[in-house]
Structures are given as structure tokens and as C-alpha cells.
């Protein structure tokens, strides 16, 4: 035991040539995938905000931001510059350390959860997934469950009433809906028999009826509702609820810190849309023209990535659309829906799926 902790051993480990032997092609390709995926994700975050503003304007019969660039396409850039240049005001009554780290914690889970999502089949020799984990689905749920810390800490750090109420609401809501979200995907795991997201996508190839939105519709409904609750989008945006809590957990934040909260919300929205496309809409597959087989050419690989992105974007658009069409639930209604409707329904769904699979076997 001592030999492992002794200074000479530690130095030997650090000085070993093997320590730099890890820079293999695998590491290079992974690094490139991470860079591209995160870059794409952040770009999508910026443009989701723009889409949100344009779509909301269209729904409310306004025009929306259309001045910066063609169709206002440079608006995200202007927004970014603006939030950097605004005064970063820190109120005197806040708890400084938590106040500083909360926005960062808020942005992380959304970015981390794309690591296991297969966003394409193959490009050349490379699988288009950053980490092909066998427990992929559990990993995403684990990361999603961490996203509540950003909001709770922001509410606590702000040390005033509205943010605190927003934070408390957020933690109650997210814990509640995590349960129904987790239970809702168990039928899928029962059918596929695997937690690997790549295998779940492969299972859905073949025909349109193989998609889990048709095979497990109840799972889809519960998962979709829980996804809205987990990302704090209307009709479940309790932590913010502008007309009750002013703006909830982010009242005391300004400048780039506020922008980070905003980006965090949109990043988790994109992540959950990608999950939705992967779990229920066949991921990168399409049941036509043999597009459900892993690509052999570069063009096919790019096409698969485009299919996946299109499905994800469709979900993002739907989430934006719903936000501007639906009123907000009341908090007790939200809790009632989560605990007394969705959880029993999800449990029944599991039992029914298990019995059907048992009868088929």
C-alpha cells in the first residue's frame, strides 16, 4: 500500500513515457468530435434564441428582430456583444462564491449530455458518437439530474425572496419530473434490452412503425411532458414564472452571468430535443432509401448527421411553438400532474409492456 503513495512511485508515474503514450488516434478523433459537437451546440443555442424571438413575434403578429443582418441573422452576435458589455452588477447581499459559480453550473449539463448521443452513423471509419457508452441512457439521466444545482444555487446565492422561491420551486419540480421521466423510458429498455443509445437507434431502423413514438406512445407522452418540465419550459416554467416571481432564480443576475443562464436553458432544451429524436424518432435513421443502415460513403454519413439535426431542430421548434401558445400550469396542478397522474401511468406502462413481452416470448 505504501509503495503506491510514496513520492518515488508518484514521480515514476509522472515521468513515465507511457504518460504521453495516450495521445492515440482515438484521442485525436474524440477531441475533434468534442470540439465540433460543442461548437455546433453553442451555435445552435445562439440561433435557438433568435428562432424563439422570431417565432414568438410571428405568433403575436409582430416582426421581431430583423435589423442586424439579413432576416436579423446576426442578431445572436449582437446579443452576445451586448451582454458582455453590460455592467456586471453584483448586489451587496449575495453569497459571492455561489453567485459566481451558479451560471457556469447551469450551462454544463446541457453540454455534457450530448456526449453519448449518436448524432450520425459513420463518417469514414469513425462512429459519429463521442462516447459509445453501454450505460448511455443512465449517463444522460445522471447528467440531467445535476442540472437542478445551477438553479437551486442561484436562488440560494441571490439571498432574496423571489430567487429563493424560484430555486425551491425548481428543485421540487425537477425531482418530481425526473421520476416520471426515468420510469417512462423503462418500457423502451424492456423492448430493446439495452441501455446503449446506439443500439436503441439501430433497433428503430427498418420501418416507420419501429420508431418508439408508435411502439411506445404512452412512454412518449410522459417523456415529452417531463422534458418540458425538466428544461423549465412553458407550460411548466415555474422557476421563472415572470408574472409571479418577477423572473425567479435569475432576478439578481445581470450581464454575461444572466446570459449564461439563458444559454443554459437553451442548451438543455437542445439536449433534450436530441434525446427525443434519439429515443422516439429513430435518431439518424430514416426508413426510406436504405438510410437506416450505417453509412458507407462520406455523403451518406453527412446525410445521416443532417437527418439527426433536422429531427432535433423540429423538436426545438415545437418547444418554442408550445411556449407561445400555452398558458402556465399552477404549481399545485404541476405537482398533481407529476405525482398522481404521470407516475402511476408510467408504472402501469411498464407492467403492461412487460406482460406483452412475456406473452410474446
Amino acid at each position: 500500500m505504501e509503495s503506491y503513495l510514496s513520492i518515488p512511485h508518484l514521480l515514476a508515474v509522472a515521468g513515465d513515457e507511457k504518460i504521453f503514450g495516450w495521445v492515440t488516434p482515438f484521442v485525436w478523433y474524440s477531441a475533434i468530435k468534442v470540439l465540433v459537437a460543442v461548437g455546433l451546440m453553442l451555435t445552435m443555442v445562439a440561433y435557438t434564441v433568435w428562432v424563439e424571438r422570431r417565432v414568438s413575434a410571428f405568433i403575436q403578429d409582430r416582426i421581431g428582430p430583423n435589423r442586424v443582418g439579413i432576416f436579423g441573422l446576426l442578431q445572436p452576435l449582437a446579443d452576445g456583444v451586448k451582454s458582455f458589455l453590460k455592467e456586471d452588477f453584483v448586489p451587496g447581499h449575495v453569497r459571492k462564491v455561489f453567485f459566481w459559480i451558479a451560471p457556469g453550473i447551469m450551462l454544463l449539463p446541457g453540454l455534457l449530455s450530448i456526449a453519448v448521443i449518436p448524432f450520425g452513423s459513420k463518417l469514414g471509419e469513425q462512429d459519429m458518437v463521442i462516447a459509445n457508452l453501454n450505460v448511455g441512457l443512465l449517463y444522460t439521466f445522471g447528467i440531467t439530474s445535476l442540472s437542478v444545482y445551477g438553479i437551486v444555487l442561484a436562488g440560494y446565492a441571490s439571498n432574496s425572496k423571489y430567487p429563493f422561491l424560484g430555486g425551491i420551486r425548481a428543485s421540487a419540480q425537477m425531482i418530481s419530473y425526473e421520476i416520471s421521466m426515468g420510469l417512462s423510458v423503462i418500457p423502451i429498455l424492456l423492448i430493446v434490452g439495452d441501455l446503449n443509445l446506439g443500439n436503441i437507434v439501430a433497433y428503430q431502423g427498418g420501418s416507420l412503425w419501429g420508431w418508439f413514438i408508435f411502439k411506445a406512445p404512452l412512454s412518449f407522452v410522459i417523456f415529452a411532458a417531463a422534458a418540458f418540465a425538466e428544461t423549465n419550459r412553458l407550460p411548466f416554467d415555474m422557476p421563472e414564472a415572470e408574472n409571479e416571481l418577477v423572473a425567479g432564480y435569475n432576478v439578481e443576475y445581470s450581464s454575461i452571468k444572466f446570459a449564461l443562464f439563458f444559454m443554459g436553458e437553451y442548451a438543455s432544451m437542445i439536449a433534450v430535443s436530441a434525446m427525443m429524436a434519439t429515443l422516439f424518432f429513430g435518431g439518424w435513421t430514416l426508413p426510406f432509401f436504405g438510410l437506416d443502415q450505417p453509412a458507407t460513403t462520406w455523403l451518406g454519413g453527412l446525410l445521416h448527421i443532417a437527418i439527426f439535426l433536422a429531427k432535433t431542430c423540429a423538436w426545438i421548434f415545437l418547444m418554442v411553438w408550445i411556449r407561445w401558445m400555452w398558458p402556465r400550469f399552477r404549481f399545485d396542478q404541476l405537482m398533481d400532474l407529476g405525482w398522481r397522474r404521470f407516475i402511476p401511468l408510467a408504472l402501469a406502462n411498464i407492467v403492461i409492456t412487460a406482460v406483452v413481452l412475456w406473452l410474446k416470448a
Binding site: 508518484l10 450505460v135 445522471g142 440531467t144
Partner: protein, 168 residues
């Protein structure tokens, strides 16, 4: 590379664990809870290095994600000012030291015992997958598994009874 990551996660776990119980900068319970979250995440890292991917994911999902959020929730609703002022008394310190000492002895003993046993068997049974773990739980260890669930059920019933306003 693996040993480097092991030292990283192990050191993080130990340092965050110490900061959780004895933070010289802050006696704020929320800070302690956040260090506990970091300890849990570092332990999940160690599990990954042991190829126990399922355990690692569940560690994050259950402990870091659910249990600690509840902890935080409760801590925030308690009156924090008193806890920050309270000085640890001698009785408290004594009990703490005795239990820590006993636990350390237990740990050292099991480490000493494990050094002689081959490690491969332990790693092979929980290797990553969910299937081997599920099979083990439902074939070899169903009784402990069920007893655990009954324990949780009893806890839940207890909470429901206690939280009722009027006890008849």
C-alpha cells in the same frame, strides 16, 4: 494514464470529503452539501476506472442528482444561522472520532484482506453491464435486495405517518 486519473479522482474525493466535514473557510451547511456532491462525483470517477460503469452512472443519478438535491432542499428550509454559530462539543467530537476510528479500522482490515485475494473475480462480476448486475440481484441475492426494498418502504410509511397532523 489510468493511474493518473485514479490519483486525480481519489485526491478530489478525499479533499472534498475533508472540506465537507471540516471546512476552515465556511461553516455553511450548503457549502458542505456541495462538497459532498463533489465527493460523490469523484467516487463515480473512481468507479469508472474500475470498469463499473453502471455503478458510476447510478452513483451520479441517485446520490449526486437525487439524494443531494433533497439534502440541499431540506438544508435551505432549515434555520442556518444557528448551525453556523454552533461549536462542536466534546461529547460530539468524541463520538465522531470513535466512529471514524472504527470505520477506518474496518476499512484497513478489508483492504488487508483484499490484498491476498485475487482481484479479477470481483471486477468480472460487475463489469460495466446492467445484465450481470441484474442477474446477480435476482438469482444470488434476492433476499438482501428485497429486505432493502422493505426497509425503504418502512421509511416511506413512517414519513407518511409522522407527517400527518393529528395522530389517532
Amino acid at each position: 494514464m489510468e493511474s493518473l486519473f485514479f490519483y486525480l479522482f481519489a485526491a478530489l474525493a478525499v479533499v472534498c470529503g475533508i472540506l465537507m466535514v471540516a471546512n476552515p473557510f465556511s461553516r455553511n451547511p450548503v457549502t458542505s452539501a456541495m462538497f459532498m456532491v463533489l465527493t460523490m462525483i469523484s467516487l463515480a470517477g473512481v468507479f469508472v476506472l474500475l470498469h463499473a460503469y453502471f455503478l458510476a452512472a447510478v452513483q451520479i443519478l441517485v446520490y449526486a442528482g437525487a439524494v443531494m438535491v433533497l439534502f440541499l432542499f431540506v438544508i435551505m428550509l432549515l434555520n442556518l444561522k444557528e448551525e453556523e454559530k454552533r461549536k462542536p462539543g466534546w461529547v460530539r467530537m468524541g463520538f465522531g472520532l470513535v466512529s471514524a476510528g472504527l470505520f477506518a479500522a474496518l476499512l484497513l482490515r478489508s483492504v488487508a484482506a483484499a490484498r491476498n485475494a485475487p482481484l479479477e473475480t470481483a471486477a468480472a462480476t460487475v463489469d460495466g453491464g446492467v445484465k450481470p448486475l441484474g442477474l446477480l440481484l435476482f438469482t444470488e441475492y434476492p433476499l438482501p435486495f428485497e429486505i432493502m426494498s422493505i426497509l425503504l418502504l418502512v421509511g416511506m410509511v413512517g414519513v407518511v405517518v409522522l407527517s400527518k397532523k393529528e395522530l389517532k
